[in-house]
Amino acid sequence: MSLQDFFRPDGRHLSRGGILLLMAPFFMLIAFAFLYPLISLLSLSVTEPTAGFDNYARILDNPVYGKVLLRTLWTALLVAITSLLLAFPVAMAMVSSSGPVAMLIGACILLPFWSSVLVRTAAWAVLLQRNGLINEAMQWFGITSEPIRLLYTQGAVVVAMTHVLMPFMVLPIYGALRNIPEDYGRAALICGAGPLRVFTEVTFPLALPGVLGGFILVFLTALGYFITPALLGSPQDMMIATLISQQLREFLDWPFAAALVGVLTLFVTAITLAFSKIFRFDRMMGGQV
């Protein structure tokens, strides 16, 4: 293929062959490092130890697994909601600031990416331990009389995961907010809307694509999150990623772990499809903002 064939005659857009060529390395990586292992793992779940859905039946039979799955969904939902509540004001502040202030906020958002998730999780362990900063502060202020258990709770997991995942909520919301022309707010004001109604009637609805995008990103990432629940959560409140890892490493039960992966994948796919339905609906309503 000559370079000429790479472009469409207009010279600005790529030809179909050009697009395929650009995507080829990525497709190969996906196929080799994601699709192949996933398919072979899933096939393991229906072929070992006997062909059929025995492994999946085991998940349904024991209510413990259902509980783990529900807890995982609930935790991910909590993380997504908390992230949203924290991220929206930050995104609003980013949009309405400029110059050094905007750079400072941006740096605060991106700063966590410069350290590893492990470090950030360990930091929370330090803060939340029995004689950690938070326990001492609460006693000093007289909120509690003795150290309470903060570490190894679902709360610790939610807080630390929110901290790690919040940037993924801020950025899409920021993008959506920044695309709203300044005149929309003015138009709403001059129409008689107070600042609160400008937010509820115009700003928030128009930021919804960003909110949904951030929400799905954080929620789905939280569903399969491993390190933070493993380090900060309690073994009694296990999440599915920890369960899968336990099955693999402690019980060496690959087929059952594969079945759990299958269930998680099913949920993720279903939720993604549901969200994209909402997305398309939204685009139909809003046109291009």
């Binding site: 001059i190 109604r197 046109g287 291009q288």
Partner: protein
């Protein structure tokens, strides 16, 4: 505020708001975007704020709307001091340059939005929104989304949204600049008609002088944040208050001359005695500018007394009219727009012609007016 929900008096026209602006200023650091601006706008008047970009016209509109707080000065709307009143409490209608329709609402919901904010009930809202859409001739478009409309239709919706709650003042921020020429002319007439029908006071910001002259009762010319001239369209064109206004509105020949208190001496020594009315403002002796509109000049024999002799450089024929570009003996370019039918048949470039104008077409500006 009590007057936010206006009493429905039934039939228009409503009485337009009276606006008094006094000593208005907006400074951004050392930049004076608006400086000592004062104006009284009559009830039902259509006022255009005209000026190049950076002249402060938009800043004035933003202060009238309440989006900017003035550094100094007062804005009275119907005698009520609104200088620091937030925009949502001013009960003003506004049309923005890029329509600013809410893309997630239908046309009807957009138009009904101000009524919703005023607590008007759903059925009443629908009825009045439909009525406003009828006024802008978009009957039956209520169920569509703004993205399904053309530019002109969107601007009509924006107009309907701005008038649906019967405000007494309508602000327009270059509302037609995003439309193509034909549509713009159609919308100019449409807005004029609405203004006439509704009796509303309109303040219209534009950088297009033709638009300002066509639409406005009075035009305020701004430059560098200062008011240059405030007059009816015809006066603005026929007797600009200073050199800036003279050069900004329409085409103008600017001929350097010396003034001795009674007569003008042009660059190469020709003397002219303009009528006393030709001197604009107070003009001291010395260097002045003689200004003549190109369409006031006619071609005559070069030896005619009082005619300007010029060398013809270019003849641009454009059907009904012809543009003649010529040079005075000292090199100053002079343009004449004449009816093609009045021209001698054989005009050749390089030929010496005479240009004359009626005495009342001459305007003399002093040097200080150029500042």
């Amino acid at each position: 505020m009590d007057d936010v929900v206006q009493a429905q008096t039934g039939t228009p026209p409503v009485r337009g708001a009276e606006i008094a602006v006094d000593g208005l200023a907006k400074h951004y650091g050392s930049l004076k975007a608006v400086d000592e601006f004062a104006i009284n706008i009559r009830s039902g008047e259509f006022l255009a704020l005209l000026g190049p970009s950076g002249s402060g016209k938009s800043t004035i509109l933003m202060m009238l709307a309440g989006f900017e707080v003035p550094t100094a000065g007062r804005i009275l709307i119907d005698g009520v001091d609104c200088t620091r009143l937030p925009p949502q409490k001013r009960n003003i209608g506004m049309v923005f340059q890029h329509y600013s329709l809410f893309p997630h609402m239908t046309v009807a919901d957009n138009v009904a939005f101000p009524l919703k904010m005023r607590g008007v009930g759903r059925t009443e809202r629908r009825r009045r929104a439909a009525e406003a859409l009828k006024v802008v001739r978009l009957d039956g478009y209520g169920a569509r989304m703004p993205s399904q409309l053309s530019g002109g239709q969107r601007q009509r919706v924006a107009l309907a949204r701005a008038i649906v709650y019967e405000p007494r003042l309508l602000l327009m921020d270059e509302p037609l600049s995003a439309l193509d020429k034909n549509l713009r002319e159609e919308m100019q007439l449409e807005i004029k008609r609405l203004h006439h029908e509704l009796g509303i006071t309109v303040v219209f910001v534009t950088h297009d002088q033709g638009e300002a002259l066509t639409m406005a009762d009075r035009v305020a010319i701004l430059r560098g944040g200062k008011l240059q001239q405030l007059s009816p369209a015809r006066e603005l064109y026929e007797r600009p208050a200073n050199l800036f206004a003279a050069g900004f509105i329409g085409e103008m020949n600017m001929i350097p001359a010396q003034w001795d208190g009674a007569a003008l001496t042009l660059g190469t020594g020709e003397r002219m005695v303009p009528p006393t009315g030709a001197v604009v403002g107070t003009v001291g002796q010395g260097a002045v500018t003689l200004a003549i509109r190109p369409e006031r000049l006619t071609v005559c024999d070069p030896v005619t007394p009082d005619a300007l002799q010029a060398t013809l450089r270019e003849v641009v024929y454009a059907g009904a009219g012809t543009l003649l570009i010529a040079a005075l003996p000292d090199g100053t370019e002079i343009r004449a727009r004449v009816a093609s039918a009045s021209l001698p048949p054989a005009l050749t470039e390089g030929e010496t012609i005479g240009l004359s104008c009626p005495p009342e077409a001459m305007l003399v500006y002093g040097e200080e007016a150029a500042a």
